[in-house]
């Protein structure tokens, strides 16, 4: 072999490769070029600083809050169905009403509203001083009609429009394409919007806090569907913060909206969300973010009273419940005795205190602490293996549960410790061997929707802080989300009655009665309620992780 030939060849391979790589680079850079022009347009809107791309360590901007955020699926208010997307949307956009940090509904773009005597006609008076971010014009009632109809319009292809706006008269006809407009949305004048619902509802106004009912700028959005999202790179919203930069999958930078119409107006100059970057806890220790959640691996380090991080620890409620659902449609799980036997043999106190290190509260019912209607007086579900064995005998014996499976969502790795602990308790106390079956999340949702399971483990997080969102949505026999297939006419009657009840105290009492019946029947074995445990840097004031998604950043200040 000639060595000269070898050298020549290797050299030419490298030349060709460099050319190829160069060509690829040009293509990739050109591909990214489209984004750059979008950014420039965004800067034109927001008057952003020219050195916006410097986000290295130490390059800090006065009044900047740095967060680790979920990578959103969409920032189109009409289309978002997940909390990860809603977290940004509630800061950039806004609606007629929103929640404050006490979880009370407050007026937002609406100044106030009146409800007709029969509880079906809501008249919202809009503020005159709410401008879109580009300051081009004030928000009018017609903008709301456009935005809500857009969410319901089948051409928009939103999956959530009908979920949150279905109370409106004419919503179903419009969503089915049988009407040209939603008759329940009327523009009385530019500052008066009238919404009519079919039946009185205690939660209608709360549903309007959800992004689906937020206002968007028709001139920007036009007839974009949920699958044409380019406009959301420079969203012209009305919320406390405006978009400065969205680098897909990498970061979102928001800047304060100086003309925001509520007090307190945002005090942060900007908020940078890092959307990817590994462990947020390590990033917090490394001073790359100002807030982080805490998981089971880190909680003991943080709780150490002599540790550096102990002073930064914050805790708050989280409106959710984690439970094991039983398929109440089919034997053997159609038997309340058997379900109660399984539930009574779970040591919830141990799970919450020893196993999850107090990161959760043991559940005694369905409703989480901190929610209106939470029943302090409800008895704890005892850990009583003796009674459990008796009930199981009564139901037909442990043999009924031979080969029983519990369905959970997972990628095939080790299933959650908590589920394994529950199964170990069942094995020890009742002598039954339950198998865990893991499924990809999408498949899991479909299977529990179709009733294709014996038991499953799942959590439910509030969309809005009302018992209706838990009891009616999850356990009414006619609800689409009643995966357990639980049916109790007495419960249904109470829930229906509560739905129409205008007196708040009476309504909550009805929900508590329904909850007691449900706990007796045990269609789910509720395990625990989450708590938000997180760290906040000492120079950040007013930051709380709310128990569900609400706009919380305008309350935050940075003092250093």
């Amino acid at each position: 072999m000639e060595t000269r030939r070898l050298v020549l060849t290797l050299t030419s391979i490298f030349v060709v490769l460099i050319v190829l790589l160069g060509g690829l680079t040009v293509i990739l850079v050109a591909g990214g070029g489209g984004d750059d022009t979008g950014d420039t347009a965004g800067d034109g809107n927001g008057g952003g600083d020219p050195s916006g791309d410097a986000n290295d360590l130490g390059d800090r901007i006065e009044g900047e809050l740095r967060l680790f955020g979920p990578d959103p699926i969409t920032l189109d208010p009409a289309c978002a169905s997940d909390a990860g997307s809603a977290e940004y949307i509630v800061e950039i956009f806004s609606g007629l009403v929103s929640f404050d940090l006490d979880l009370k509904v407050i007026p937002d773009i609406a100044e106030d509203w009146e409800v007709s005597d029969d509880g079906t006609v809501y008249t919202f008076n809009l503020r005159g001083n709410v401008l879109f971010h580009d300051s081009s014009r004030p928000v009018s009632a017609a903008d709301f009609k456009f935005s809500m109809e857009r969410a319901l319009n089948p051409a928009t292809q939103s999956t959530v429009g009908e979920v949150y706006l279905d109370d409106l008269v004419g919503a179903a006809e419009f969503a089915d394409g049988d009407a040209d407009e939603v008759s329940g949305i009327k523009v009385i004048d530019p500052r008066t919007l009238e919404l009519t619902i079919a039946e009185p509802s205690a939660v209608f106004v709360e549903k309007l806090t959800y992004p689906t009912a937020y206002v968007v700028d028709e001139r920007e959005v036009g007839d974009s569907t949920c699958f044409e999202g380019n406009w959301t790179l420079t969203p012209n919203g009305t919320g406390p913060f405006k978009m400065e930069e969205w680098d897909l999958g990498r970061k979102i930078v928001l800047a304060a909206n100086p003309r925001f119409h509520l007090t307190p107006a945002p005090s942060l100059a900007r908020v940078t969300y890092i959307l990817s970057g590994g462990s947020s806890f390590v990033m917090y220790e490394n001073d790359e973010v100002d807030v982080t959640g805490i998981g089971i691996n880190n909680i003991e380090t943080v709780r150490d009273p002599n540790g550096d991080l102990n002073a930064d620890l914050r805790e708050g409620p989280s409106l959710d419940v984690f439970y094991i659902g039983f398929n109440a449609r089919e034997a053997p799980f159609d038997d309340a005795d058997l379900r109660n036997a399984l539930s009574l043999s779970i040591d919830r106190e141990f799970l919450a205190r020893e196993f999850l290190l107090d990161l959760v509260e043991p559940a005694k019912g369905i409703l989480p602490p901190g929610m209106d209607g939470y029943n302090e007086g409800l008895a704890d579900i005892p850990f009583d293996p003796e009674a459990a064995r008796g009930l199981l005998e009564q139901a037909g014996g442990a043999g009924l549960l031979d080969g029983a499976t519990i369905l959970t969502s997972g990628q095939g790795a080790t299933p959650s410790d908590i589920l394994q602990a529950v199964i170990a308790m069942w094995e020890q106390e009742l002598g039954i061997a339950v198998t865990i079956e893991q499924e990809d999340f999408g498949l899991f949702l479909r299977d529990i929707d179709d009733g294709n399971f014996e038991m499953f483990s799942l959590g439910w997080i509030a969309d809005y802080p009302d018992p209706q969102n838990f009891l009616d949505i999850k356990l009414h026999s006619e609800s689409l989300n009643n995966e357990s297939g639980y049916t109790n006419p007495a419960v249904d009657a109470l829930l229906d009655q509560a739905d129409g009840e205008v007196d708040e105290a009476a309504r909550l009492a009805l929900y508590q009665q329904a909850e007691e019946l449900i706990v007796d029947d045990m269609p789910w074995a509720p395990l625990y309620h989450g708590k938000a445990s997180y760290l906040v840097k000492p120079y950040v004031d007013g930051f709380v992780i709310p128990p569900f998604v609400i706009p919380n950043l305008r309350y935050v200040t940075i003092n250093r």
Binding site: L6, L10, F227, G278, D463, E483
Partner: protein, 326 residues
């Protein structure tokens, strides 16, 4: 260029569309026939089944898969790669190319470092055969080569980010240099490059050592030594060059992997590259994005392999094409 070679290249290039057609159809069909689609996943538990069904119908997901495939390929041929559903509403090219660019950046550095360090190191170890340096260096390398990134990355993170505090624990940041967005010069690039280079160097060095040892036993090396050439000259001119030949194949595979980011590396370090995107796209059934990633990836793979085959022809005349192509 010999005529035989030109025909050979041409034939291979003509095969490319066929390969891509097969690859794209398999990827496409795997996605479509797999249970649950993106509409269902994104709708979450609260959406009404009728709404989901209506959107499916409007988006053509209810059509027979071959019909959907023909429609998709028609669009691809006109340059439209479709719409992402994980990043709902953004064109696929806007989603994947910036991500590939990120994976390419750190992979390219890793590739250069791996060969630049691994080849001399392997040669050195082979030349020290019989001394303590050889087993020691190879033993150390073996540790790096066998430690999966799932273990090495948390260790590196702990050391550099938490303990020493000199590097960010993850993420990626870019700044503009001469009009090009580059992340290579930021501290964020150090950990992924380190985590990939260590096992890479180990692999190449061990392979190179084996090759060199084989060549050292050849007659021509003995001859070179016998005729009194200096040891250094023997190594560079006779041993290393001959040992390099099989390395070209490895180089080919490494090149083809340039834009295929590692799912593990990118997930653990939170690097928004193509590996992380692929993983997320599969979880969320982002059909068009998955198919596009596979299409672009396989195009580059096929072209690189072709390049390597051609290179072999040049390097070693004994490997001639003769029309017998595997």
């Amino acid at each position: 260029m010999p005529a035989g070679l030109a025909t050979y290249i041409l034939r291979r290039l003509l095969l490319l569309p066929v390969i891509l057609l097969i690859v794209s159809f398999v990827t496409f069909a795997l996605g479509r026939y797999a249970p649950v689609d993106y509409v269902e996943i994104q709708a979450g538990p609260r959406a009404q089944p009728e709404t989901i069904e209506r959107i499916r119908e409007e988006r053509g997901l209810n059509d027979p898969v071959p019909v959907q495939y023909v429609r998709y390929m028609g669009n691809v041929l006109t340059g439209d790669l479709g719409v992402s559903t994980r990043y709902q509403g953004f064109p696929v090219e806007d989603v994947i190319f910036p991500r590939m660019w990120i994976s390419l950046q750190y992979n390219a550095v890793v590739l250069v470092l791996t060969f630049a360090i691994g080849l001399p190191m392997g040669t050195w170890a082979a030349m020290r055969r019989g001394t303590w340096q050889d087993p020691l260096s190879i033993g150390v390398l073996l540790v790096f080569a066998s430690a999966p990134v799932l273990i090495s990355i948390p260790l590196l993170q702990w050391l550099f980010a938490v303990k020493l505090g000199v590097l960010p624990s993850g993420g990626w940041s870019e700044a503009e240099y001469l009009g090009v967005e580059l992340g290579l010069f930021s501290k964020h690039a150090v950990l992924p490059i380190l985590a990939l280079t260590l096992p890479g160097v180990a692999g190449i060095a061990r392979y190179m050592r084996g090759q060199v040892l084989e060549v050292l036993d050849q007659d021509f090396v003995r001859t070179a030594n016998a005729k009194g050439l200096q040891a250094g000259v023997v190594v560079t001119r006779h041993v290393a060059r001959n040992a390099l030949l099989p390395i070209v194949t490895i180089l080919g595979f490494e090149l083809a992997a340039l834009i295929g980011g590692s799912i593990f590396i990118e997930t653990l370090l939170g690097i928004p590259g193509i590996g992380l995107l692929a993983f997320e796209s599969i979880k969320s059934r982002d059909y068009d994005t998955i198919t596009a990633i596979v299409l672009v990836g396989s195009t580059i793979f096929v072209l690189t392999m072709l390049l390597i085959d051609i290179a072999y022809g040049f390097i070693d005349p004994r490997i001639r094409v003769e029309g017998s192509i595997s």
